[in-house]
């Protein structure tokens, strides 16, 4: 038996946009075990809920994450609306769905770029981010913010998208679809991508379920689980089928995300066709009482926002279960037995969002 050594990976590493530390126990070049440690960027955002008005806290909940910010804000609003018994206008739900899907597309494109970068494929990285810019332009035009939209309110949304703008978004969809097709083709056919991803970081179907994986990690292992199927918000009216792959390796998780770009585009198109006219914001009076778990599908998987209130303007408790935390045990399983050179690629396939996870 060869000698075991421990190689620290992170918190600062070129492939990691955010800090997580892994102690890799190696035997020669093979990883025997990976021991994660977290807690580098805890900001205490959940505690702030005790000091802020529950309506102002929407802006803080959006800043939990710098990528899937919109869906955090929308899910927090959903949970507060539920305990207050507020029925939000249908148009607001559709607008939230349109922005959520744009948010998913920009997150997946960002991830595809970072994933290409982890393989040293700079050219593909830049191309993914070039396409992402088109999505961010739509976000900026319609909400005023590229990444942090700031349009969610308890009771609806603060900004409407007029018919002309909806038409403009719809007219941009064929161009985006062509861009996505080209990117997917490259990920699907390129020798570099194939050799670095196929058969690497295996997460068998039953193991993914047992370890509680969520989002594209779970769907890449053959489970058709997507919170959008529960029909929250406007998703009950939109045609939707989760993307599932059965290969259970890094390639499967990559292709799930690439194919979800098309699903999101279809959902946006669908929502634009069916969006009803009407108000976008319901006036919310009084303070919330009660507790509720709201679930939503983020680009990285299922997020849960738990809120508890006791009739005062400050909530008693706000707790977020983010998808990255759920995907850490599957990551540890995937890393055991892999080559050291494959570690960056495998770590990226869970799409780690540490800012979100530690809040």
């Amino acid at each position: 038996m060869s000698r075991q050594i421990v190689v620290p990976f992170g918190p600062q590493h070129p492939v990691l946009p955010e800090p997580i530390h892994l102690d890799l126990v190696l035997e020669d070049e093979r990883v025997v075990e990976a021991i994660p440690s977290i807690g580098y960027i805890h900001r205490g955002l959940e505690k702030l809920v005790e000091k802020r008005d529950f309506k102002d806290y929407v802006f803080i909940s959006e800043r939990i994450c710098g990528i899937c910010s919109f869906i955090h804000g929308a899910t927090y609003c959903q949970s507060v609306e539920k305990i207050m018994g507020v029925e939000i206008p249908r148009r607001a739900e559709f607008l939230r769905a349109i922005w959520s899907e744009h948010s998913r597309m920009h997150s997946h494109l960002l991830w595809l770029g970072c994933f290409a970068d982890s393989m040293g494929y700079e050219n593909l990285f830049m191309n993914c981010w070039k396409v992402r810019e088109k999505i961010l332009d739509v976000m900026e035009r319609t909400t005023g913010g590229r990444i942090i939209q700031g349009v969610n309110r308890v009771g609806g949304v603060s900004r409407d998208i007029d018919a002309e703008e909806l038409k403009r978004i719809a007219s941009g969809i064929p161009g985006l679809r062509a861009d996505f097709t080209e990117l997917t083709r490259i990920f699907d056919e390129d020798l570099t991508v194939q050799t670095r991803t196929k058969g690497i970081g295996m997460l068998p179907r039953d193991k993914a379920w047992d370890l509680g994986a969520v989002g594209p990690v779970l769907r890449g292992s053959g489970h058709a689980v997507d919170t959008r199927c529960t029909g929250y918000g406007a998703y009950d009216e939109l045609d939707f089928k989760p993307v599932v792959r059965n290969e259970s390796d890094c390639y499967a998780r990559c292709m799930v995300r690439a194919e979800e770009l098309f699903t999101s585009l279809d959902l946006v198109e669908n929502a634009i066709d069916r969006i009803p006219a009407g108000d976008i914001l319901t006036k919310v009076r009084g303070n919330p009482t009660g507790e509720f778990h709201a679930r939503a599908e983020q680009p990285r998987g299922e997020v849960i926002h738990y809120v508890k209130a006791n009739g005062k303007k400050n909530l008693v408790r706000h707790r977020v279960r983010t998808p990255t935390l759920a995907n850490i045990p599957p990551l540890v399983h995937m890393l055991a037995g892999c080559e050291l050179a494959d570690v960056p690629v495998i770590v990226l396939t869970i799409d780690p969002c540490i800012g979100c996870m530690e809040r």
Binding site: D56, Y57, F59, E140, R141, T143, G144, I148, I186, D190
Partner: protein
Amino acid sequence: MKIGVMAITVLKNLVKGPDTIRYPSQPAKVTEATRGHLVNHIEDCTFCSLCQMHCPADAIKVSRPDRTWTLNQFQCVICGCCMSYCPKDCLLIEQTYLPPTTEEIIVTLIGPDEEKPEEQRNGGNRG
């Protein structure tokens, strides 16, 4: 599995030139909705402190006795929360981004009183 799958894209990119702009020497893209920076029309301000109370980033300080409104632009996250509470609608967000800087910018605006006309210090009414 193929080699050179990206060749056509690479050639196209070479011919087309860069997609990026050289910010800040070239101005950033802005839209009508862009949240660039916060400004206060101090002549309309009543120093009610609602903006200070609701600012999620604690970036605003208001003093009614001194008739001053202070904004720490490094702390301001340009969320627009203060605007939704302002009873006089004197707060608004302008589209342009502030230039990059290494030093904290604190803007203090002094409101006019009956006799004295509007005074400004530390950067004036740019917000």
